[in-house]
Each structure stands twice: as structure tokens, then as C-alpha cells.
């Protein structure tokens, strides 16, 4: 909403500066987001009188004009076709003027004459949209040659750009704004009563009005102005509309627009002669009914859309846009003016459905004043008659089928004080309320009964009046206190704290946290071989983000691919986020996962290490799950992963779980991405991916409980190595377990310290070397005992794995 400072001053008599007015409006919740001064910088553009004009020989389009600019006669060459006769006045930019578009006026030789200045049009001066030629000053504007045009035409103004909240439809008109301004500056505001029109005619509307849906159209007024002559509006009005962002059209439409900006209440002017069968009916459309709106678009309507119809069919979509068929045209003589109150919800639904947002619908959907209908109608018809001639026909129509009464609210000042934290004197509260046009009845020392007029639909309960007190007394008055927050028995759920711990440990382990959009595309999910999306957006911004993710892989893979393409060498990203699955209930299931992706070479001391592989992923999981769950993860080959996690390489993946007191808690899975999946996800390198369930991690941590301390060993340990060559098929973990089992209770730890494949061993074989740590918790070990245990282990290797022990 644009608002004119001059207009507000005219309405209130306030003398404060534009800056002061803007600050007060903002402080009161009608935020002035920007303001712009008008009529500045045009000081050397003045009124000048035409003294003579002659055609420039051989240049048909150019005139040689001599103007008197108050100081002397000046020669100007002008290309406009409408240079007026001597004696008339024009707008003259002297040499040295700078026009708003940045053009500087200099001396120029044209057609053999030295042209010293420029005669300007509205557009060149940005004071209007008239581009048909130069601006000829109307006779009724009194201004001597030499008067700066800013003074002569009243151009100086400040335009406020207001960011209004949708609860304040009254602020969409200058009268509503003026009410606030007046209270801020302690002025008494009386809205202007429409003066009697210059000519009042007798007779009837000549059209019958029927409101068939009073719920949607509680009030409908109509008036008639007979015998208008269409033409341009006076400059001051055109200029005001121009400054406030509306285009001047002709006097009738300009009048309705002016009233729109004045009262914030849209009206609609029809050509009365085009109303077929002399009848207006306000009714709902039928499903599929069609009409063409003013913008020449054929609209298909539904039974939820309110229409203004004549005896034959629709002429306007109520409160949204008129129809092409009833538009005012040059031939119009009698203007039928509609001023109504339409139910806001109805207008909003229709506007949304048709994708139409107009000055009218913007106001109707926020709620205009139903009880302002008679006043606004009278003002509009009077203004049309004033501008376009014609007579206002006395007997208008005011169908008030469903009167809307102003709310009456009991107000307790004590409660207001308690809520705001500062005190307000009763007289001050009354001043604010009455200043805003509310009527106040005292019901006690500090209690009132307040009747709030219907132009403030945002006020319906006591607390709304409290806000009015705050608006005008001001936020700076509010003291600052720190409340004593009473502890709640529920506290913060442990899961919430666990969330932070999870992210922190993942970061400490060496992963970078990513945050990806939760919406993805179906093809992305398909590329990741993730479950098909079951939570679908009804109105996505684009197909790329049209379904809720079922896996964190697409987001992380996209981030990894992007990074690698940008020559980031190494990707180690993790994300904690939700995946979504539809359920039978009202809401989808949201599962929180911790996922990570590794791509590129692993960190080496100098230079790069080899590409990340499965064991890097395993290492990260050990580094995360260990401290997070206080439990070591176990990794197993799980054939079900072919089905459950088809995005993994079938030979390089594992299920991840923890075993706690015999309870097996599955955490998720880890693996190298299937080469086809990596390709489909645009990763041109192998990548390691893991996805763990955060609730499962939490459950594991809960199951572990408090870890229990045990005494540190007092007796020394003995290390013995065992190296062997055996078939590839035996996993190191199984071999280690066999050593542990065979060697018996003295074994404290079995650790793989060498793995070799290559020339020194036969094909299909590998060499493993383990260091076995023996310890007796109760005594110092003897070599003999250790030798015996170690010999059992060696024997078991030969027996179970056909290993050659070296």
C-alpha cells in the first residue's frame, strides 16, 4: 500500500514532518518500509507562456516556439504536435535542468535555431502517464510564468510504502491511516462527510437488485449517476493516483479508484445501459459457468464463486474483477455504481482459484467495512458527478440483508496493565479508544465497555484492545524483566539431547555435517535404488523437489558429486535427517537417520592415500558408535541386504548392529555403493555410504546403561605371534575367534597385525599374522602355560583351516 503524506495531512491537520509521521506509523504497527519524496529536483523546470510558434521550414514535425519563462523570452525547438497557441502555458525545462530520467538539458542547434531548453510532457517529468504530447497547463491552475512547476502543480509530496499486516484492512485507505496518525499526534479526527453533490437528479435506479446469497453478500448498495461525460480527470487527481501507483484512465474510473484509496473500499462502475433486462442479481455461479473478465480471459467458475449478474448472465466476479461486457466506454452516459460488502472467505477462495489478485480482492478478502457502504457509495457517486458531470439519482439501493453489528467488548485496565507490564491511566486508554473512533462507556473505576466500529475487524476481544494501548503508548515504554521460569516436570526428552551428541561425535570423528532438502525427485530416488516415495507434495515448487525423501543417499550423493566437480578432493559428509513413509494414520512416519558418504582419497601424512574403501566406512562407524552407544558395533554379511539395501556393492557391504547382553540391536548398513548406483547418481568415483537409525542408536545407548568399571590388571601380559597361510575364504574375524577359542581363557586379545596377498603366497591364499595377548588375572604367567595354549591355537589352525602355520 502506497500512502500520500499530503493526503494524510489534509485529513488530520497534523504538522509533523514526513519522517515523524513515518516513525509513528511504524511504531504503531503500520510499518513504513520505505518512503520517497516527489516533486524534488525539478526546481529549474518552470511554467512558461507560449509567445509564438512557427513551423521549422523543411522539418514538418518541428516547431520553433518562443516561450516566456518569467525571466525572458527563450527560443525552443519542440517536436510535439500539440504545442498550444500563444498565451497558453507549458512546462519548460531550462538549460541545465536534469530530468528524472537523468537527461540533462543543454543548448542544441536544431533546424538552424539554437534551442535553449525543452518543453516537457508528463512522462518526461514522471508526473503522470500522458505521453500524447507536451503538457499544456489547464486554465484553472493559477501560476505565473517562472513559477517552479513543483509549486504550480502541487507536486511536492512524500509517498510512504507501507507493509501492512493482513489484519488491518482499514490501513488500505487514507482515512484509516489518518485515524492512526491523528491518535499518534493527539489530534481529533473526523472522517470527511460526503458533501452534497452539485446536481442531484430525481428518479429511480432503473435497475432491480436481487441478492440471492445474503451470507456471501451481506450488504449491497447501488447508485446511479446519469448523464456523465467521460474525459480526463483534473491534474491534481491524476497526479495523486499516479503517485499512489494507479494509472489514470478517465474520470469515472479515476473517481472509483480515488475513493478506493481514500476509504479502502472498492466500488465498481457499470455502464447502466449495458445491464440487460434491467436487473442485477447477486448469486453463486453454477459449476462450469463461464465469463470473460476485464482482462479478456475467459474464466470457468464453480458453485463456490459469487457472481454479479444482469438479467442475462454474469457481469462481474463479485469482489474480484468486472466483466468485459459491462465496462464503461466512450458511449457510456449513465453509470451504475456498486458498493458492497462481500464475505471475505468467499472472495479469497474465488481469487485463489482464479489466480486473480486485484486491488478489490485484496481489500475484500481482508474485510472492508460493511457499515461503510452507504457513505462510500454517496462519496463515489458525488465524486463521479463532480468530475464527469451528470446528476446523482437520489433513490439508491442499500440491501442490508444481514446487518453486521459492531462488537461490544468489556475491557479491564488492570488486566491490560498486567499483560503489558506497565501502567496506563484510564484517561489515556479512553483517549486512544475514542481517538480511533471507538465509543467508550465507563463501567467502573478501571473498566470500560467499548464498542468497536466495523472498520476495525481485527478487534473482537479484550486482548485486541490491549494491543491498541500498546500500539499508541509504544514499545519503548515496555520495561524489561526476566521471568522466573518454573521448572517443568517433563524437562527435555533424552532423545533431544542425544541428537546433539550424535552430530557432535560424527563431527569429531572427522565428518562434515551437511543439511539437505527433505524433498527430492522420484528419478533421484530411483537412481539411488531407494524405496519409492510415498509422501507426495500436492503443490511442489518443481518436479525436482516433489516428493519427500525415503533415503538420505540422494542428497548426500548430490553434495558429494557437486564437491568433486568443483575439485574438492575428498568428501566426508554426514547428515542427520528424516526420511518419510506414508502410514494408515493421518501423518507419515518420520525416521531419523545418521548417514554419511565418503569419496576420494583418504588422508595420508604426505600426499594422498588410496581411495576410501569399506574399511574407512567401518572405521567411522566404530569411531561414532563406540563413544555414542558405549558399545562396539559388529559387522556381518547379511544376504537380506540385496533386497533391503540394493544400493550397495553386493560383495562389499555389511549389516551393522550392536550386541548388548545378548540383545541384538540392528543399527543399519554400510558398504561401497553399487557401481551402477554410483554411476546413476553421477559420481564418477567409488563411494562409501552408511545409514544408521538414530532411534536404534538411542535404544542401544539406553540398553547399555551405565558402563561398569573393572579393576586394571595387576599381572603382566605375554605376547605371542602366530602367522599362517590359508585359503582366502576364511575371514580374519573367524580365524581370530578360532584362535581365541582354542587357546582358552588366558587369551586377553587377538589382534591382526599383518595381512599379505601376493607373490610370496599361492594364488587363492593369503597370509595372516596375529598377535595374541595372554594374561592370567591372578598370577604371573609361566612360559610353559603360554606355550601350551599357543600350541593349541596352532593346532586348531591346521585342523580347522588347513593352514600352514609358520
Amino acid at each position: 500500500m502506497l500512502a500520500s503524506y499530503n493526503w494524510l495531512v489534509e485529513l488530520t491537520g497534523v504538522t509533523a514532518s514526513p519522517r515523524e509521521v513515518a516513525d509513528k506509523l511504524t511504531g504503531g504497527g503500520l510499518e513504513v518500509e520505505a518512503f520517497e519524496t516527489r516533486g524534488e529536483g525539478l526546481d529549474s523546470v518552470v511554467i512558461a507562456e507560449v509567445r509564438s510558434k512557427t513551423k521549422v521550414p523543411d522539418k514538418d514535425k518541428l516547431s520553433h516556439v518562443v516561450v516566456f519563462d518569467g525571466e525572458g523570452e527563450v527560443d525552443v525547438i519542440c517536436g510535439a504536435a500539440n504545442v498550444p497557441d500563444p498565451g497558453r502555458r507549458v512546462l519548460f525545462a531550462r538549460v541545465g535542468s536534469v530530468l528524472p530520467n537523468g537527461m540533462e538539458i543543454g543548448e542544441r542547434k536544431l533546424g538552424g535555431v539554437l534551442s535553449r531548453g525543452m518543453i516537457c510532457s508528463e512522462v518526461e517529468l514522471e508526473i503522470g502517464t500522458g505521453a500524447e504530447g507536451i503538457f499544456v497547463v489547464p486554465a484553472d491552475i493559477e501560476a505565473a510564468p517562472g513559477t517552479p512547476i513543483a509549486d504550480a502543480l502541487g507536486l511536492r509530496d512524500t509517498i510512504f510504502e507501507l507493509g501492512l499486516t493482513p489484519n488491518r484492512p482499514d490501513g488500505l485507505g487514507h482515512i484509516g491511516l489518518a485515524r492512526d496518525v491523528a491518535v499518534h499526534f493527539g489530534q481529533t479526527f473526523t472522517p470527511p462527510a460526503p458533501p452534497e453533490p452539485a446536481r442531484r437528479g430525481d428518479g429511480e435506479l432503473g435497475v432491480s437488485i436481487e441478492v440471492a446469497d445474503a451470507d456471501r453478500c451481506p450488504r449491497y448498495g447501488a447508485g446511479l449517476v446519469r448523464g456523465v461525460t467521460l474525459g480526463p480527470s483534473p491534474f491534481w487527481l491524476r497526479y495523486r493516483l499516479h503517485c499512489l501507483g494507479l494509472r489514470a484512465i478517465h474520470n469515472v474510473v479515476d473517481a472509483t479508484n480515488y475513493v478506493l484509496l481514500e476509504h479502502g473500499h472498492p466500488t465498481h462502475a457499470f455502464d447502466q445501459a449495458s445491464v440487460r433486462k434491467r436487473a442485477i442479481v447477486v448469486r453463486l455461479a453454477t459449476d462450469g459457468e463461464k465469463m470473460t473478465t476485464l482482462d479478456e480471459v475467459e474464466r470457468t467458475l464453480t458453485a463456490d464463486d459469487l457472481l454479479i449478474c444482469d438479467g442475462e448472465g454474469p457481469v462481474a466476479v463479485a469482489g474480484v474483477m468486472g466483466g468485459a461486457n459491462s465496462e464503461i466506454g466512450d458511449a457510456t452516459s449513465d453509470v451504475l455504481v456498486e458498493c458492497a460488502y462481500f464475505a471475505p472467505r468467499s472472495v479469497r477462495r474465488t481469487g485463489r482459484r482464479l489466480g486473480l489478485h486485484t486491488d478489490a480482492s485484496h481489500r475484500f478478502e481482508r474485510g472492508v467495512d460493511p457499515n461503510g457502504v452507504p457513505r462510500v457509495l454517496a462519496r463515489t457517486t458525488q465524486l463521479i458527478a463532480d468530475l464527469a458531470g451528470g446528476a446523482v439519482i437520489g433513490a439508491g439501493v442499500d440491501e442490508n440483508a444481514q446487518p453486521i453489528a459492531p462488537p461490544v467488548i468489556d475491557f479491564r485496565l488492570d488486566r491490560c496493565d498486567a499483560l503489558l507490564g506497565f501502567e496506563t491511566a484510564p484517561a489515556e486508554a479512553v483517549r486512544i479508544f475514542e481517538g480511533l473512533g471507538f465509543s467508550v462507556e465507563k463501567t467502573g473505576e478501571r473498566t470500560f465497555r467499548v464498542t468497536v466500529p466495523t472498520f476495525r475487524p481485527d478487534i473482537s476481544r479484550e486482548v485486541d484492545l490491549t494491543e491498541e494501548v500498546l500500539r499508541f503508548r509504544g514499545f519503548p515504554l515496555v520495561p524489561t524483566t526476566i521471568p522466573h521460569v518454573r521448572p517443568s516436570a517433563d524437562g527435555t526428552p533424552l532423545e533431544v539431547r542425544f541428537d546433539r551428541l550424535t552430530r557432535g561425535i560424527a563431527a569429531i570423528a572427522g565428518l562434515y555435517e551437511a543439511v539437505n532438502y527433505a524433498f527430492v525427485s522420484r528419478p533421484e530416488l530411483a537412481a539411488a535404488r531407494a524405496p519409492e516415495a510415498s509422501v507426495i507434495l500436492e503443490n511442489p515448487l518443481s518436479e525436482d523437489r516433489s516428493v519427500m525423501r525415503t533415503s538420505l543417499l540422494p542428497g548426500l550423493a548430490a553434495a558429494a558429486g557437486r564437491a568433486l566437480r568443483r575439485q574438492v578432493q575428498r568428501v566426508t559428509l554426514f547428515e542427520v535427517g528424516n526420511t518419510f513413509t506414508a502410514t494408515d494414520g493421518d501423518l507419515p512416519r518420520e525416521d531419523q537417520s545418521l548417514a554419511f558418504i565418503l569419496a576420494g582419497p583418504r588422508e595420508a601424512w604426505i600426499g594422498d592415500g588410496e581411495a576410501f574403501d569399506f574399511y574407512d566406512g567401518k572405521g567411522f562407524i566404530e569411531a561414532i558408535v563406540g563413544p555414542l552407544c558405549l558399545s562396539a558395533p559388529v559387522f556381518s554379511i547379511d544376504d537380506e541386504l540385496s533386497e533391503k539395501a540394493p544400493w550397495f556393492h553386493p560383495r562389499r557391504r555389511a549389516a551393522v548392529a550392536v550386541q548388548i547382553d545378548g540383545e541384538h540391536i540392528a543399527l543399519g548398513s554400510l558398504g561401497e555403493l553399487h557401481p551402477e548406483v554410483a554411476e546413476a547418481l553421477d559420481l564418477d568415483t567409488r563411494a562409501i555410504y552408511a545409514e544408521l537409525s538414530v532411534p536404534a542408536l538411542f535404544r542401544a545407548r539406553q540398553a547399555v546403561g551405565d558402563p561398569q568399571a573393572s579393576a586394571l590388571p595387576r599381572f603382566p601380559a605375554v605376547n605371542r605371534d602366530i602367522a599362517m597361510e590359508l585359503d582366502e575364504e576364511h575371514s580374519a574375524g573367524v580365524v581370530a575367534d578360532a584362535i581365541r577359542y582354542a587357546a582358552g581363557d588366558l587369551v586377553e586379545q587377538v589382534r591382526l597385525f599383518d595381512l599379505y596377498r601376493g607373490e610370496q603366497v599361492a594364488a587363492g591364499k593369503k597370509s595372516l599374522a596375529f598377535r595374541v595377548t595372554y594374561r592370567d588375572p591372578a598370577a604371573t604367567l609361566t612360559d610353559k602355560k603360554v606355550d601350551k595354549a599357543h600350541a593349541r591355537a596352532a593346532k586348531a589352525m591346521k585342523a580347522q583351516f588347513a593352514a600352514t602355520v609358520r
Partner: protein, 359 residues
């Protein structure tokens, strides 16, 4: 083989060893070759070991004499070996201490930690500020009922107030559901679940249909709610002032102006002093030129207000008995201000080089 042979060979052997071991040990340049030299003498196949085995063939009357001689030699060899070992270690240490300096400019080896996302960092900071004041932390679902996102918060049906939060809806045959447009849904859920007094902050992802340099269709908010008897607007102002000063420093000022959010009344928007041009330092020219606050010296950072009675009614709290305040602020916005991030999309590209700057 005769006894005499054995005696001769034994004597010759002893003489050879006696002659050779000193130089063999002396010539060894490192521990490995020293040990090898020692093994040649005293190892299982060593000369001295073999000589000892010859003892059985020596005639009985000479055995004692020869035994003593051999053992004496063995001890001599062992002592020489130990001496040589010590000498070698000593030489090695001296060499190391005299060697050229290592190249200290080579990179350090370290466990390389990762980074938290700026959103997480800010969330942690914000949550800690409020938990220190006694607030609990709550979470809620990202997809929620229309009823919780709008109706229960007092949004009138078909009201343009919902335009302020252009929503993503989820296709559903059941109740109308949507991606939450604000974390205020958690207010509703917590109030339905708990009885006052109640003090929570609730961070999380929210979604709106906007996408440009300052708007991301997914972003993060943190919601605050305090409900108790006699909570006032002054308490709200106090808590927010404390919050702003904790987050941005003690000089930061707070101002507000009434605004409209359907679930609060009175509602307000809060500005803090611009943290870029720092107007409290009194450099007016710097503020005038500041592009972040556009020369105003103020930054809008959050919306807040006193909980609307209609919300209390919708969750079954008595609005005559309880009052409360609520606020909501954009975590992305705070992160952008704190870390000087000019384009919100950087937050969602997850480029390690960016994460490294901030995390």
C-alpha cells in the same frame, strides 16, 4: 675319529675363536650385523656351540681343563658382545644427536576432525541460551496436520494471514496435512501434551514455497514458548533482550513494533542493533553506508507476542488464569548474520570448503 684329533681340533677351535671374536664384533657397524656375528659364534650352529658339542669326544682327564677354558672363552665373548652392543647404541645415539635437523616444515600428522553445519552450531548456541534461562527443548514432526499448523493457532479459515506462509501440502486421503510452515506447531503439540507452567524452545526445519537469494524453501526456525500465571510483555522483552545480548554482545540494543501473527496478541516484530555497522560505537558514517541494515542501524530478526487466548482455548488452557509469550526466529537468518553469509543457498550446498570456514 681319535681322542687326539678331538683334542687338537678343540684347541685349534678355541684359538680361532679367541683370535676372531674381537675383530668380528669390532667390525659390526650396526646392531643387526653385531647380532649376526654373535650368532656365528654362540648361535645354535655357531662355532663356539659346536666346539662345546665336541667336548664329549675329549678324553675324560682333559675335559675339566678344556671345559673351564671353553666356558671362560664363552663368558669373554658374551662380555665382548654386551660391550659392543652398548658401544653401538652409544654411537647410534651420538650420531642421531649430531645428525641434521629434521624438516619441521613437513605437515603434522593429526586426527582430522570434521565440522558441524552452521545451522547446527547456531541451534546449539540458541538452545543453550534459553536452557540456561530454564527452558526445556522440544521437537515435533516436520509434516503436520493443517489443523496444528493453522487452525489451532488461531488462523481464521481462508484468511490472507496464511499468505504470509505459502505452504506445501501433502497428498492425502485423510486429514489435510502439510510441511509445517513454522515451528509453532510444536507449541500446540506441547501444550496439548503438558500442563502449565511450561517453558520450551523448539528448533527444526520448516518449509515455505519461496526460493530466491534470501529465501530457501526449507529453512530452520526456533520457537520459544513460556506459559504461566502472570507472564507479561515485559518478560518477553526481557528474555529477548537477554537473548540478543548473549548472542551478539552486551552492547546490542533491542527495539520492537507491533505486528500481526494470528497466534499472538499483542504481536510484535523485534529488531536488534545492526551487528555489522555496530551503531553503538558511534560511527554514523559507517552505519549510513551499511548495506546489511540499509543505513537504519537495525536488523529485523524475529516475531513474537503474547499467546493469543484463542490458542489457549484450542489447547484447553484457561486464558483467564494463564498468560504466556511466544517467539519464533529464523536460524538461517541468525547464521547468515553471525557468519556474514550473503546467499542463503550456501547453507544447503554443503561444500566442505564453506563448512570448514564456519564449523
Amino acid at each position: 675319529m681319535t681322542d687326539t684329533d678331538a683334542v687338537t681340533r678343540f684347541e685349534a677351535g678355541l684359538a680361532d675363536v679367541r683370535e676372531a671374536f674381537g675383530s668380528a664384533f669390532g667390525e659390526a657397524a650396526d646392531e643387526q650385523s653385531l647380532r649376526a656375528a654373535n650368532a656365528k659364534l654362540t648361535g645354535p650352529e655357531g662355532t663356539l656351540t659346536k666346539l662345546m658339542k665336541l667336548m664329549r669326544e675329549v678324553p675324560g682327564d682333559r675335559r675339566r681343563e678344556f671345559g673351564q677354558a671353553a666356558n671362560a672363552l664363552k663368558e669373554e665373548v658374551a662380555a665382548a658382545f654386551d660391550g659392543a652392543l652398548v658401544a653401538l647404541a652409544q654411537a647410534e645415539r651420538e650420531a642421531e644427536l649430531a645428525a641434521p635437523h629434521i624438516d619441521v616444515s613437513l605437515p603434522g600428522r593429526r586426527p582430522k576432525p570434521g565440522r558441524l553445519h552452521p545451522i547446527t552450531r547456531v541451534t546449539i548456541e540458541l538452545v543453550d541460551i534459553f536452557t540456561a534461562l530454564g527452558f526445556d527443548v522440544a521437537h515435533g514432526p516436520e509434516i503436520d496436520l493443517y489443523e496444528y499448523n493453522f487452525d489451532k493457532l488461531g488462523f481464521p479459515p481462508d484468511h490472507p494471514a496464511t499468505d504470509m506462509q505459502d505452504s506445501f501440502f501433502v497428498k492425502s486421503d485423510g486429514a489435510r496435512s502439510m510441511l509445517r510452515t513454522h515451528t509453532s506447531t510444536i507449541q500446540v503439540r506441547e501444550m496439548l501434551k503438558r500442563k502449565p507452567p511450561l517453558a520450551i524452545v523448539a528448533p527444526g526445519a520448516v518449509y515455505r514455497r519461496d526460493d530466491d537469494i534470501t529465501h530457501s524453501p526449507m529453512f530452520f526456525q526456533i520457537e520459544g514458548l513460556l506459559v504461566d500465571e502472570k507472564v507479561s510483555f515485559a518478560d518477553l522483552k526481557g528474555v529477548l533482550t537477554r537473548f540478543a545480548q548473549r548472542l551478539f554482545g552486551p552492547d546490542v540494543g533491542v527495539r520492537g513494533r507491533p505486528s500481526y501473527f494470528p497466534f499472538v496478541e499483542p504481536g510484535a516484530e523485534i529488531d536488534i542493533s545492526c551487528v555489522f555497522c555496530k551503531p553503538w560505537e558511534g560511527d554514523a558514517a559507517r552505519t549510513a553506508a551499511c548495506r546489511v541494515c540499509k543505513g537504519t542501524g537495525w536488523l529485523e530478526i524475529l516475531g513474537c507476542g503474547m499467546v493469543h487466548p484463542v490458542v489457549f482455548e484450542s489447547v484447553g488452557y484457561d486464558p483467564e488464569k494463564y498468560t504466556g509469550f511466544a517467539f519464533g526466529l529464523g536460524i538461517d537468518r541468525i547464521a547468515m548474520l553471525k557468519y556474514g553469509i550473503s546467499d542463503i543457498r550456501m547453507l544447503y550446498e554443503n561444500d566442505a570448503r564453506f563448512l570448514e570456514q564456519i564449523g
